[in-house]
């Protein structure tokens, strides 16, 4: 018994202070919420019908974009069907909105050419790339805005790439902005080891007019990029408006200056290719809704691939076939014979077209891993029923207000807790020491947990959360009060200190458990059903209630029980109940209080 108590006491002390120490040593701190740090919060919600997959993809895409922008500690939360994006430190509202404005729209765009595909995986590829790259430069004659009309000469792959990404001042079709970003994308992708997995991003598209055995040669890696030169000249001279099928091209808001690849389906653009590399793509020839919502990844001829059905009629099959025949024939609009599948500014895959016309089903094969194929299927499924996101709320919090609030909340919170402790000391005398230590243990535990959670699962501490913690001080202290009042009751009715401590805890524990369970129910319901600050509050309320339970059982119980065994505590004077005891003693002889008399006799 005694050993168990000691063990529990030591364990909780080690856990709590160890956690605190670890947090201090690694100098990690809880992530502050938007309201304490300043920044912008944008909430979006889909309207109308959408594929649930699309929402996941949208979150992924937003995360990618925000990460590429280098916003520190962004918070992207899905709450029900709403996506909340908190961007601490961002001040420009317009920028923030564009950053998170994902359409979920999948575009099919003919590929002009691609460079640096899967750069990291095969170094020898890289050697070839600059070669490919010069050609577009000469032909498209990109009088970059910065460099005037001078045609960039041969240089190291990196520098050519940078220049090539700011092309086409003359034709004025490519925005400089996506270009500058694509540099970022390319250099960023260079750092990602897994990018190599996708390097052979040139799988082949084939039909399977219901049977899945078309003419597929084993996919050649990165084909057709070199052959694009001649076609390219013509391609750029073609006015951007003359898309293959203008009817299918949706109206898109005018592109604005951001450093994020904003997809504009009406013009020729350079967009990053998933897995590394950049592709110059033409105006969109079709949207994801040419496909049925049945894209599926599976084994096609011993390799992973994706099978997807085409919708019937003018909006599906016809659009697709028009595109396919253009690309198959290597027409000027699609010199590379590849068709890019683009989702929100990222080319997910750019397969070569192997067949001029398709009847009911499309197969995309290539050197896919299982994950790649499933990703592509996900994209196609979501694209067939695209998400229409609507911005529901945009909130700006000024950082000065935030830091002041934080400082004030912390200072006043600490003073408040000190006042409580002083009051407890006055009331419970020596027993208050247990409360002192208990409060530090639970604070250490809370701090450690919050730090850990904000490192691992992106929890942020907002003003509402701090409020929840401050209020929970009351509840935590109440656990002690309930216990100590019971302890006094037991001592008063004539039990020994040691006995009282045990019985007192048994009774108090039931009360504490019951009351805390109600709090936990409340916190859980709120956490599941609400959004925003209320949810944050609910989390902290639940967390501190749990900590309260743990501390009561693992710290307070052993501490008091062990203390009660000592001679020191047996004198009772130390805990502010000596007078009670004296009163009880004085009754024993006189008789008129039979209730206690019986006990003391």
């Amino acid at each position: 018994m005694r050993r168990k108590l000691l063990f529990s006491l030591v364990a909780i002390l080690i856990i709590a202070y160890g956690g605190l120490l670890a947090a201090l040593i690694t100098s990690s701190e809880p992530t502050l919420g938007l309201d304490l740090q300043g920044g912008i919060s944008v909430t979006q919600q889909p309207i109308g019908d959408y594929d649930p997959v699309a929402l996941d993809l949208a979150v992924d895409r937003i995360r990618d974009r925000v990460d590429s922008l280098g916003v520190s500690e962004p918070e992207i939360i899905r709450q029900g069907d709403a996506i909340v994006v908190n961007l601490p430190g961002v001040e420009n509202q317009q920028e923030a909105i564009e950053l998170v404005q994902v359409t979920g729209q999948v575009y099919l765009r003919p590929v002009m050419q691609c460079i640096n595909e899967g750069v990291e995986e095969e170094p020898h590829d890289e050697a070839e790339e600059p070669h490919d790259e010069e050609e577009p430069h000469d032909t498209t004659a990109p009088a970059s805005t910065a460099g005037g009309t001078s045609v960039p000469g041969d240089s190291a792959p990196d520098s050519t790439m940078t220049k090539s990404t700011a092309p086409d001042d003359t034709t004025a079709v490519i925005d400089t902005t996506p270009a500058s970003d694509s540099t970022e994308g390319a250099s960023g992708s260079g750092a990602q080891p897994p990018a190599g997995l996708r390097a052979p991003a040139a799988p082949s598209t084939t039909t399977a007019s219901s049977t899945t055995s078309p003419a597929t040669e084993p996919p050649t890696t990165a084909p057709a990029t070199t052959a694009s030169a001649t076609g390219d000249t013509t391609a750029t001279t073609v006015a951007p408006g003359t898309t293959i099928d203008p009817a299918t091209v949706p109206p898109e808001p005018a592109p604005t200056e951001t450093s994020v690849p904003v997809s504009d389906p009406n013009i020729e653009q350079i967009l990053p290719l998933q897995g590394g590399g950049l592709c110059q793509v033409g105006p969109a020839g079709g949207k994801g809704d040419v496909f049925k919502n049945d894209a599926n990844a599976g084994i096609i001829q011993a390799d992973w691939g994706v099978t997807v059905g085409l919708r019937d009629g003018g909006a599906g099959l016809d659009v697709w076939n028009q595109l396919a025949s253009q690309c198959f024939n290597g027409e000027p609009s699609c010199p590379s014979r590849r068709l890019a599948i683009e989702l929100d500014g990222l080319i997910v895959s750019a397969p070569s077209v192997r067949q001029p016309s398709f009847t009911g089903e499309v197969q995309i094969t290539g050197d896919f891993s299982e994950g790649d194929a499933k990703d592509l299927a996900r994209v196609l499924r979501s694209g067939s029923l695209p998400l229409r996101m609507q911005t529901q709320s945009v909130q700006t919090v000024s950082p000065t207000l935030g830091s002041d609030s934080l400082r004030a909340a912390v200072i006043s919170g600490v003073i408040g807790v000190l006042l409580v402790l002083i009051f407890m000391l006055f009331y419970y005398r020596m027993l208050a020491l247990i409360i002192f230590v208990g409060v530090t243990v639970s604070s250490a535990l809370l701090y450690g947990l919050v730090t850990l959670l904000s490192e691992t699962s992106g929890l942020t501490l907002s003003l509402a959360g701090i409020a929840g913690v401050i209020v929970s001080v009351g509840v935590t202290v109440d656990s002690y009060v309930v216990f100590f009042e019971r302890l006094k009751d037991e001592v008063r009715s004539g039990r020994t200190m040691r006995n009282s401590a045990q019985r007192g805890f048994a009774g108090a524990w039931r009360t504490i458990l019951m009351a805390d369970l109600v709090s936990l129910i409340g916190a859980t319901v709120l956490w599941y059903l609400t959004v925003g600050s209320v949810r944050n509050f609910a989390f902290f309320l639940g967390l501190s209630t749990l900590i309260d339970l743990v501390i009561a059982y693992m710290f307070t119980r052993p501490a008091v029980l062990l203390l009660a065994r000592t001679k020191f505590m047996a004198r009772r004077r130390v805990m502010g109940i000596e007078a009670v005891q004296a009163a009880a003693d004085s009754w024993t002889g006189t008789g008129p209080r039979p209730s206690t008399a019986g006990g003391m006799a």
Binding site: I97, Q390, A409, L419, G522, V525, S533, L541
Partner: protein, 399 residues
């Protein structure tokens, strides 16, 4: 009621010094020896609360609640107002095609940020929001990032409100079920009533003072709700314990309630103080001295809520519980004969109700016979009249 009190007082042995004479009121409170007849004074508390509720309802009817844009939807801009007057701001709104008739324009000031002007209008498209923001920035001669804007679409605002209400209803149902399962349905009903009472009164304070209801306010309301329930549960846990203890005797339920209330009084006061102190510190030091205005309304709502929360668990929940129980046949006949004064004192200190019934009957008889002033030592009547659980004799050896 008064007749019963008188009757009881007759039965008091004159020689015995009352506890109340041995200690001052503070001392008795400190040692948990109070004997306050909460049940007998239940109408005071109920009447007081009824008055507050009426005031709240009137205020809600005439003042309404000042709902923030998070619930109604709309756009709010805040601009440093050293250079911008209200008229200029309204003109900017008009220039951008916003109807300025329904716009709320407020001057704010805080020590850190200086005077600021706050404009609030209904739902606007994003372009208009940015245009107005730009206009305000130009007028104030500051960078656009100094002008904050918050916009919430009205459909989103509605869905937020709906979600909160739905969460609340589910929460109430679950808590009702939980309390009914662990305690009894009457306690569930009484504690929910007390909780609603607390929230309504706090809402009333918001309505009276015209504070804006923001998500932080909702958080405060929820905290109150949780605290109120927590407090009531602790009180009811004691009531339940005493109900078991008293169940063998034919004691009125009011005795159970009174004894429990007196036994937990100190705990309730302590806990309330422990909960109120940090909030008070937040209010006075945080928002008063350090000037964090964001904390002020929040802390005020909490303060009001915590105080009513403690008040209601004793003055609303407990009397309601007693009244619900007295409808039971078991207690109905005993209604109106609850112990007060000395009797109550004895019960609070751990006496058993069974003994007390027999004793008082016996004492009354003795009183009739014996001359006044004789000390009557009542013999221990039954095992129940002593401790329900006698202290175990100390074992010689440690376990």
């Amino acid at each position: 009621m008064s007749s019963t009190i008188d009757e009881r007082q007759i039965t008091v042995e004159p020689s015995e010094r009352a506890l109340s004479e041995r200690r001052g009121p503070g001392g008795r409170l400190y040692h948990g020896e109070t004997a306050i007849d909460f049940y007998g004074r239940r109408w005071w508390g109920l009447a007081m609360s009824a008055l507050l509720l009426v005031v709240t309802v009137l205020s809600l009817i005439f003042n309404g609640l000042n709902l923030g844009i998070d619930f109604e939807g709309g756009v709010a801009w805040e601009v440093p107002s050293a250079e911008v007057t209200e008229d200029e701001a309204r003109a900017i709104l008009r220039d951008n095609g916003v109807d300025d008739a329904g716009a709320k324009v407020q001057s704010l000031s805080s020590p850190e940020t200086g005077p600021r002007l706050r404009l609030q209008v209904g739902d606007q498209p994003q372009e208009v929001v940015v245009a107005v923001q730009q206009g305000l920035a130009t007028a104030a001669g500051v960078d656009i990032s100094e002008v904050t804007s918050n916009s919430v679409s009205s459909s989103w605002g509605r869905s937020i409100t709906e979600k909160a209400v739905r969460a609340l209803v589910i929460f109430l149902v679950l808590v009702m079920l939980f309390i009914s399962w662990r305690f009894e349905w009457r306690m569930a009903l009484a504690s929910i009533a007390a909780m609603v009472h607390d929230v309504v009164i706090t809402v009333g304070v918001y309505s009276l003072l015209g504070f804006e209801v923001t998500p932080a306010t909702v958080v405060a309301f929820l905290t109150i709700l949780g605290f109120s329930l927590y407090d009531t549960i602790v009180v009811f846990d004691k009531v339940r314990e005493n109900t078991v203890k008293f169940s063998s005797a034919r004691a009125p339920y009011a005795d159970t309630i009174n004894v429990s209330m007196n036994q937990v009084l100190m705990r309730t006061l302590n806990t309330s103080l422990a909960a109120v102190l940090p909030v008070l510190s937040l209010l006075i030091i945080g928002s008063g001295i350090l000037g964090a205005v964001a904390l002020r309304e929040f802390a005020l709502a909490l303060l009001v809520g915590l105080i009513t929360g403690s008040y209601s668990s004793i003055f609303i929940a407990a009397p309601l519980l007693a009244m619900l129980h007295e409808r039971e046949p078991k207690y109905r006949s005993l209604r109106g004969s609850h112990a007060t004064g000395r009797e109550l004192e004895r019960l609070v200190l751990g006496g058993s109700p069974g003994g007390h019934r027999h004793e008082s009957a016996r004492t009354r008889r003795v009183d009739a016979d014996a001359p006044v002033g004789t000390v009557v030592a009542a013999p221990p009547a039954s095992p129940q009249s002593v401790l329900t659980h006698a202290p175990r004799p100390r074992k010689k050896k440690r376990r």
